[in-house]
């Protein structure tokens, strides 16, 4: 098939598929307004399972969860909605409201400065964009250096520019790697069960670290979690770490 024909076909089919998601989304919204929360949630979930995402979808799923008194799950959806511009402001307000509804709240230990830096970079630019930026600079640095080699007159300016560009490129690539590593390894999760115990080891017989309540935000270590089936290695916002049953928390 010729590429032009393929693109034309995609352009013709895509609006139809998107329209189908939008129709179901509006249908679910209608159900939610009519307090048919379960039916609405089912429709929302079907859209999500097909791989379609939007801030409005997650925000409304959060509202449906609030109606079903699943505040932990609602917090998860509202947190997810903050990643999308179309419902970011509403999701932040809802989170603010929701956090006040939890009877127990965890103390918050601020992340270390460099950790905050990489989290900010990841949220603002993402690992891919940082890597692309780094690669462009790296190529530019290589070009400048090669030009300096073959220039009849030695050029210190070109060499310096090349070195500085290369340094920035390496920093950008290292940052991209770190951001990607953090993104791959850690996920933000929310405790959706009313109460459970955080254990020192992935074993109910091991030492209890603390009690985790619904709505606590967790940082799930995917890499560590792979070592124990049905357990997740998590870090609470107060800095405590331990193991928790996977089915009691929700994360991406």
């Amino acid at each position: 098939m010729k590429p032009g024909l393929f693109i034309a076909l995609i352009l013709l089919l895509l609006p139809g598929r998107l329209e189908a998601q939008q129709d179901r989304f509006e249908e679910a919204n209608q159900l939610l307004e009519e307090h048919q929360t379960d039916a609405a949630m089912e429709l929302y979930r079907s859209i999500e399972e097909e791989g379609y995402q939007s801030g409005m979808l997650f925000y409304n799923m959060g509202i449906a969860s609030v109606s079903r008194d699943s505040l932990g799950l609602a917090k998860y959806y509202f947190l997810h909605a903050t990643d999308f511009k179309d419902a970011q402001e509403e999701a932040l307000q809802a989170l603010n409201y929701l956090n006040n509804q939890f009877e127990r709240r965890s103390a918050i230990l601020p992340p270390l400065p460099w950790e905050r830096f990489f989290i900010h970079l990841g949220n603002r630019y993402g690992g891919a964009l940082l890597a692309l930026f780094g690669l462009l600079l790296l190529n530019l640095a290589a070009g400048l250096l090669i030009t300096a080699w073959f220039k009849p007159e030695p050029s210190r300016w070109l060499r310096r520019s090349s070195a500085i560009t290369a340094l920035i490129a390496i920093l950008a690539l290292l940052s991209a790697t770190r951001v990607q590593y953090l993104d791959n390894r850690y996920k933000t999760g929310v405790m959706v069960h009313p109460e459970t115990t955080l254990y020192h080891e992935p074993d109910r017989e091991s030492t209890a670290v603390t009690t985790v309540y619904e709505g606590y935000t967790l940082r799930v270590d995917l890499h560590e979690s792979e070592t124990a089936e049905s357990w997740a290695r998590v870090r609470l916002q107060n800095g405590m770490t331990g193991w928790i049953k996977q089915d009691l928390i929700r994360y991406d």
Binding site: G51, Y52, G55, I63, K85, N96, Y97, L145
Partner: protein, 586 residues
């Protein structure tokens, strides 16, 4: 009239201090000993202190029961001190008396006329003991010992008791220094050392018919923290003492050296057991374990605040008692107030005979919802040991007005009803199932392209440098280019008017290539030298022979008849083949 009035007022103001100071008289009476034996002498001294005293009449002799005045006329003395330009005179009148009867007696006030006014001293008391000559019949005490004296041995929980560390020493013993020997275990008590004693003073006491000097060295405020039997461990104390021989000790001077004997001793007090009583339950309020005399205030930092603004609620407890043992009063705050860690601050004064100061508890919270909120009235009971009962401090109800911040970036949700379903066209996005960063082709391409370019550039640069600096390498490198050039030239000559000239270029191409490739001199070598060099280098005898033949032909063609064009072209082609072989071999 006005001027006269002002002058009069000024005169009054100028004279008033002088007049006032004339009345500034300090009168004190004292005894040299409060405890004496029958037959011992003691002094009764009256001191008149003032800075503008003009006349003092002789005081009347005191009438003391159980004692006899040795002389009706007192011995007089006068001290003058000037401090900050102010002169103070102290006149003293001392009467000598002798104790005659055992018992407790009162010395009545003595009148004295100063500058025409009559002043009276305070009454004093004296105890006179019958001198038994020894302490027989009673427990014999050492010459020096230490005791912990408590002002209350049955305190309530949290009630302050004063523990005084007293030392007792007999005549002839002087204490030169003291130092507590390590910690004093007071389990079950909160303890603070009082700072009131800077220079310990001594007084006379009679114990078991023996006179001792007593000095209070240290004082501690103790607060029992639990009821029941509590034990105060012995207190160890290092003392530096100097002993003088007693008047009735004939060996004192022998063993005591030349009149005195300085040494260091360690004293230990007895262990003490206290019975601590439990506090009665208060009739109302929330107890914070307060025992003493306190004033309690509760004040918010603001009465009106915006949603999200931090508010402080400060409880200040000021007064005398067990301040550091107080627990934080807890208040029922509205649910919409987000609480933060409270703070505590204690400011204590240890001077005087009690612990006093201020303890502040600060509650911090952030209101999250607008509205009018009430922190209810609370009653805090404080046990007052002096009244043996509770004093109930009533902290009035507080009302806080929490307003919506008009400058807030977005409105706060107040209730679940504010969570409205978002409708309209959503911005749909496919879930990101793309490979991670390291699975993207452009990442590796972006890394490999500059790496390859750098390697190629570097190699090229190195070759350029060598061609520029290494002549032999440059000749070898450009040798084939020269061959091509000469062969083209030979072909041109073959088509030209002087075809024999083509052989010159063929010879030049072959010999030039060999010398350039083998790094031989470009001139001065015979054809045989060239073929031998090729033979040595390649070990190919056929190639060497072919080369020799071709070089011979090129050299001898000048003398041969003119060959036709085909033969020349054939020779050129043969030379080209030979050069190709040489190129492969060299």
């Amino acid at each position: 009239m006005e001027r006269t009035g002002s002058l009069f007022t000024l005169l009054i103001l100028l004279l008033w201090p002088a007049y006032g100071n004339a009345q500034d008289v300090d009168l004190q009476a004292s005894l040299s000993e409060n405890n004496v034996f029958v037959g011992e002498q003691f002094s009764f001294t009256i001191e008149v202190k003032g800075d503008r005293i003009r006349t003092i009449e002789m005081p009347d002799p005191p009438e003391v029961e159980g004692s006899r005045l040795l002389s009706q006329t007192p011995s007089r003395g006068q001290r003058i001190s000037i401090i900050n330009g102010r002169t103070t005179t102290v006149n003293s009148y001392s009467f000598r008396l002798i104790a005659r009867e055992a018992g407790q007696f009162q010395i009545p006030p003595v009148s004295i006329e100063i500058d025409g006014e009559t002043y009276r001293t305070e009454p004093l008391s004296i105890e006179i003991y019958q001198n038994t000559g020894s302490s027989e019949g009673s427990e014999r005490r050492p010459d020096i010992f230490a005791e912990i004296n408590l002002d209350n041995e049955e305190p309530m929980v949290g009630e302050q008791i004063i523990a005084s560390l007293d030392i007792y020493f007999r005549e002839g013993v002087e204490v030169t220094s003291y130092q507590p020997a390590g910690g004093w275990r007071t389990d079950g008590f909160w303890m603070e050392q009082l700072e009131n004693i800077e220079q310990p003073s001594t007084e006379t006491v009679v114990l078991g018919g023996v006179r001792y000097r007593r000095a209070t060295l240290l004082r501690y405020a103790l607060f029992p923290s639990r009821p029941g039997e509590l034990v105060l461990s012995p207190y160890d104390l290092h003392l530096g003492i100097r002993t003088r021989p007693r008047r009735n000790d004939p060996f004192g001077s022998v063993f005591g050296g030349l009149g005195s004997n300085q040494r260091r001793v360690t004293l230990e007090t007895d262990e003490l057991t206290l019975s601590v009583r439990r506090l009665d339950e208060p009739e109302e309020g929330e107890t914070i374990g307060a025992v003493g005399t306190f004033d309690i205030q509760r004040q918010p930092s603001v009465r009106q605040a915006y949603v999200g603004e931090p508010v402080e609620l400060r409880t200040t407890i000021t007064g005398r008692g067990n301040l550091p043992l107080l627990s934080r009063p807890t208040y029922p705050l509205p649910d919409s107030f987000e609480r933060y860690s409270p703070e505590e601050e204690t400011d204590l004064s240890r001077r005087g005979s009690s612990i006093r100061g201020t303890r502040t508890f600060t509650e911090r919270f952030v209101p999250r919802v607008a509205g009018s909120f009430t922190i209810p009235e609370i009653v805090i009971p404080v046990y007052d040991p002096e009244r043996s009962g509770y004093h109930y401090h009533r902290l009035p109800e507080l009302t806080l007005e929490i307003l919506q911040n008009p400058n807030s970036t977005f409105a706060e949700f107040q209730s679940e009803a504010d969570l409205q379903v978002l409708k309209g066209l959503a911005l749909w996005k496919q879930a990101d199932n793309s490979p991670g960063l390291f699975g993207r082709w452009w990442l590796w391409a972006g890394l490999l392209i500059p790496a390859a370019a750098l390697v190629a550039g570097w190699t090229r640069k190195q070759k350029q440098n060598r061609l520029r600096n290494d002549l032999q390498y440059a000749r070898a490198y450009y040798a084939w280019d020269q061959v091509e050039s000469n062969l083209i030239q030979a072909e041109k000559e073959a088509d030209g008017e002087t075809p024999k000239q083509a052989y010159h270029y063929l010879h030049k191409a072959i010999s030039g290539y060999i010398t350039d490739r083998l790094g031989l001199p470009s001139a001065g070598l015979s054809d045989r030298d060239l073929s031998e060099a090729v033979q040595t280098r390649t070990s190919l005898p056929d190639l060497s022979k072919q080369l020799e033949r071709m070089l011979d032909r090129c050299a001898s063609i000048s003398y041969a008849p003119l060959s036709n064009r085909k033969n020349i072209e054939k020779d050129i082609e043969e030379a080209r083949t030979l050069l190709q072989k040489l190129r492969e071999a060299l």
